[in-house]
Symmetry: D2
Subunit: 368 residues, 4 copies
């Protein structure tokens, strides 16, 4: 089903080459202020054609609210919003119907939907489906500011370059770098690497790091609705995302307990840990330290290089070169998607807290 969330529910609909893509966000109480500029800032950060190393597809990606708003305040009914698809060309896709592109969902939609598959532009498997994720997520991020939660995402590793300094606390900072790798020197190097890759007709993968600050301790549920399980479930909806690790992640596999355990101390009245190998989560529940995780994005599947494939009609070997306007480094545009979706996850976890505590998270001045 196309719905996620527990007390805050997001349903998405539409497809790459249909008339619209949109979302329905249900669960917000009445009286929540919706800041259009803030939403648009995040939509712009995933918009195609941002700079010379992203796809040149032209989409304005303006959000249009179709329900749930009265003069920029929620009315307690579902927020509905749509985006008009503007710049799509269906004729590119005749060939790929029968010659599935390696790395894409062409082959699996053939298995699942048969002759009724919506294959143009990847149909509803397209990266454009992340538009409503960013919209809903940025609404959540804006609400989380009421209790001082902030979320940072940036590219930590790509093209053989790895960032060292991870002390970033400004949610906007990484967007001042063309590649979203927030280091002047590495940004230049990665930028040039991507230009090379474009020339080669190839693409690159990457790793995105996310840190969320000031989440109250005690958020998340034991077992199935843990912070990790909730975030992972949502993150894997992002096309091309193939792994997630929290805190020290896969390094924990070669560590000992005395290295891995984060020991406690009091910093004033607050309990902190000397290290944060757990990524701010113990037993699936936040411990008050920054929430940290990384996700890996596979390289964009669409490449101009010739690749082996099969012809689904003739059952013969075939070849394909994916032409059209594609991102050589889709990880760059996934950064705001991961960041916003983290906001959605955290707001839903707070709203769904089984301890039924109350924060002034909706800033309605009444403790609710």
């Amino acid at each position: 089903m196309f719905t996620a969330g527990n007390r805050l529910k997001l349903t998405i609909f539409g497809s790459s080459h249909g008339p619209y893509i949109g979302g329905i966000l249900d669960g917000l109480p009445a009286g929540v202020n919706i800041d259009m500029d803030y939403i648009n800032k995040w939509l712009d950060r995933r918009r195609p054609g941002i700079n010379s190393i992203t796809t040149q597809r032209k989409e304005s990606d303006r959000i249009e609210f179709i329900s749930g708003l009265k003069e920029f305040y929620t009315d307690g009914s579902p927020l509905g919003f749509i985006f008009r698809n503007e710049d799509y060309i269906n004729k590119h896709y005749d060939y790929i119907r029968d010659n599935p592109r390696p790395g894409h969902a062409d082959i699996t939609m053939y298995y699942k939907y048969g002759e009724y598959r919506n294959y143009e532009g990847g149909g509803f498997f397209s990266g454009r489906m992340t538009l409503p994720l960013v919209a809903a997520g940025s609404i959540a991020m804006h609400i989380l500011k009421n209790i001082n939660i902030s979320i940072v995402s940036y590219i930590k590793s790509a093209g053989g370059f790895n960032i060292q300094n991870e002390n970033i606390s400004d949610e906007d900072y990484s967007y001042s770098f063309r590649t979203r790798m927030p280091d002047p020197d590495l940004d230049d190097k990665l930028y040039n690497k991507i230009l090379e890759i474009i020339k080669d007709g190839d693409s690159l993968g990457g790793i995105i790091k996310t840190i969320a600050y000031n989440i109250p301790p005690g958020i998340g549920e034991p077992f199935f609705d843990s912070v990790e399980g909730t975030i992972a479930h949502l993150m894997f909806s992002i096309p091309g995302l193939k792994g997630i690790e929290f805190g020290a992640g896969f390094k924990l596999g070669s560590m000992s307990g005395s290295q891995a355990n984060d020991t406690f101390y009091y910093d004033g009245d607050k309990i902190k840990t000397r290290t944060n190998n757990s990524g701010g989560i113990l037993g699936g529940i936040t411990n008050g330290m920054p929430l940290e995780f990384s996700v890996v994005m596979k390289p964009t599947s669409s490449i101009r290089k010739k690749q082996e494939t099969v012809n689904l009609k003739t059952h013969q070997p075939s070849e394909i070169q994916v032409i059209g306007r594609h991102d050589p480094f889709i990880t760059l545009r996934a950064v705001p998607v991961v960041q916003a979706l983290t906001g959605f996850a955290i707001l839903d976890l707070i709203m769904s807290d089984s301890s039924q505590k109350k924060w002034d998270i909706f800033n309605r001045g009444d403790g609710n």
Copy 2:
């Protein structure tokens, strides 16, 4: 909430030092044969005290069905089952109530549940809560055999040792090795390493690899209920699991598209891919290749070494040495949990398939 699954729902209950741990498995049709020997085989594989490198807590871990069965066939109502806790000692836990153990959920249950927290033996955050996961998962694995799906899990990396040969297709094979690392030489080395670690009063983490064979192509849903999202959501319910990657996983972050894309060819009538970097999943949906993923388990948090902590009553620095009977290498006992839970995930995905195809998965001879 303590429930997972879509059309096949598992609810778990109980705690480490309460009278029982149990589960309710709802959604199976009537007439499914329940094989007690098969379930017990899997329960035995996660049982404490298997050998000298696991905890010496004594639990028979016999499953008792309390509902849903008529003479070893399901009756269409929820399967209820319980395990009696036998060998628990509450007095160990007086100290940890006020001096949280690093790496454990002691501190987060303090935040979430306050004075009503169930802290003895980790309460309902205990690894014993994986018992109903193994029970439900082994029931699912048994059903999946009706359409020839088999699932293999083993330890791929731990203590600095990494297994190379990954061509394992027998679900029982890894259990012929004391460490579940299915290589005679590495098994010895890891075994000795663990003996050392026990002497040091420390613990080890590890990485578990899982491969599922013969899943029909077309299983899994686009976006939120993808194969990856569904499996990840469930896996993070396993205490101590901190990361998951599908196919080539985090390596994809430094690969190019031409390296990462799995190209297609016909093997007879079947479409296969030359490589399997996607782990058998494209667009969140199975493509007919083996489903492959790895998870990382952090080192057991309970160690005898002295660690820094805080006293929650005095607000002063404190120290703790975790005594009692603990697994130095809990990853070993997590292997059957991961394996069985994969079975649960796959059966639920098949039962929930939105294309509403029918397989003879329940083997009732009527195509249902």
Copy 3:
């Protein structure tokens, strides 16, 4: 939340005086033919301004699909559809903000949403919100025809008139009567009664009977997801609906078991019952006899007669006369809503059947 259904999910959004009302229908497989004429026939039957005894608000109520369709076949992603609100006037509603109309949700939205309440035209409590119910329901009714299920609804009682002959099996029949009371004589009498009521500035309630034919036996689940519970849950979403009874309903309260029990006999190979006091449902599950139930609609709350109310600002007694264009007998327009919603309920029950049987309900020629 604004979502109903189990495997077939409907989310509705919008409000009476916002730009749109719409719905998202998720769960249909790919390849289901969507018949626009059929949907429009049902939408027309609940449209305002049908005849002189309905409201004169002018709405074309044309459905616009915004997602999920490829050339009139579903693509397996959510069907999104919207209706543009055309003929709304906000100025009527200044007075009622502070002087709640008796019988309406004005007062309860004041309690629940406070100053952010969407009160114009009843906001999202408006009867216009039944538009997406009819749309989704008519899609379901069309699918149910593939296995010969048909559903009939008509007015059984209103204005002191009660229909006797209940042998109606044509889903269109009641719409050949102006009042939806399918008896030429009673139709005339009720019609004249309504004209009187209009003159008086008053309104009428009524009872709607529904019969569904050819539902396979075995549909519905024990306990919470019974046929009765599922249908009742959905029906009470219809504004103004205050009661539901199945089979002999409230008459069962004064019957004896020997009168009430429906005894069995074989009619050829088919087991039938001599009477149908159970309304075709035993233990929450269909028994192969026609499914029968009645619902009661309260009289339209909006009346021109002067009524006592309170002023929410001054906390003083107040009066109100509800002017504007209102249905004197809203039950008439509720008939297709009840009928279509029954279709939605039955299709969802069939799709969610725990016995996992398969019917050729989607008519895709492959037994699925």
Copy 4:
């Protein structure tokens, strides 16, 4: 599925002639006091063998908690509880396997579960399955007392007798009458009528009225999760319940708007209505007046009188006389089930309130 509720979830399991019947109640925060005496009082009120006009099956119906409790306080994990079936005799049921009892689910479980049906004593369609409903409901009723909500249920109509005075506000009052019809004269008359019915080998139906006081205004959601829809959905899980009406209910079908509308006035600071035809609910949401509804129970299906049936093996006409220990007037024992289940519904509605207001409902002294 065997689960109901939104933020407060109840899963039931077991069957009449299996070893146990039980429930899992998930969603309560930690620190809620569980009052065993209070629960047992309600269990006793539905227990068989209460007096000479109920079945003589002997069941102690003692609740045993198997999880979620620490010294009578919830620990935040699911409350699990079981009841041991003590007095069941399987041999009675050989005949009914092939000769379905009119009015029972014997025939529908044959359709749904085929040869694997659990038919002894009605299996999981038995009225014994209401035991966990009473347990969970009485826990909810006890919690609701923290904000002064009280719930009353009694028999309003049965055997041709109808109660007039409805001013009952004491939740225990109706249990001082043998028939639960709270009028000394009618209680006698109905009691004698039931004795006659027993002699005849027949049974009676009845109507149960419920009133809930002091529910805060603003509870319940628009559309699908309305107060009416939520309560109706739960009530239809009670075996034999065939109709529900709120406020004036089916009488609204023959009323005019000026009669039906409940007009408003201020009683001090509180807005009240002159009448309560809406049953305390407008737009699906509570308006602060008492919540009122009635349900009808069909006569007990098991009667000693000879009835026509069919033989499922021979496909021939057959006859049946239901011997064994049956309630002639099951409505009597349904009273506490309806009452407790109302408590469950109201608590879930309050916990799920989309406006996210907070009441001190769990009485933990911190506004939560």
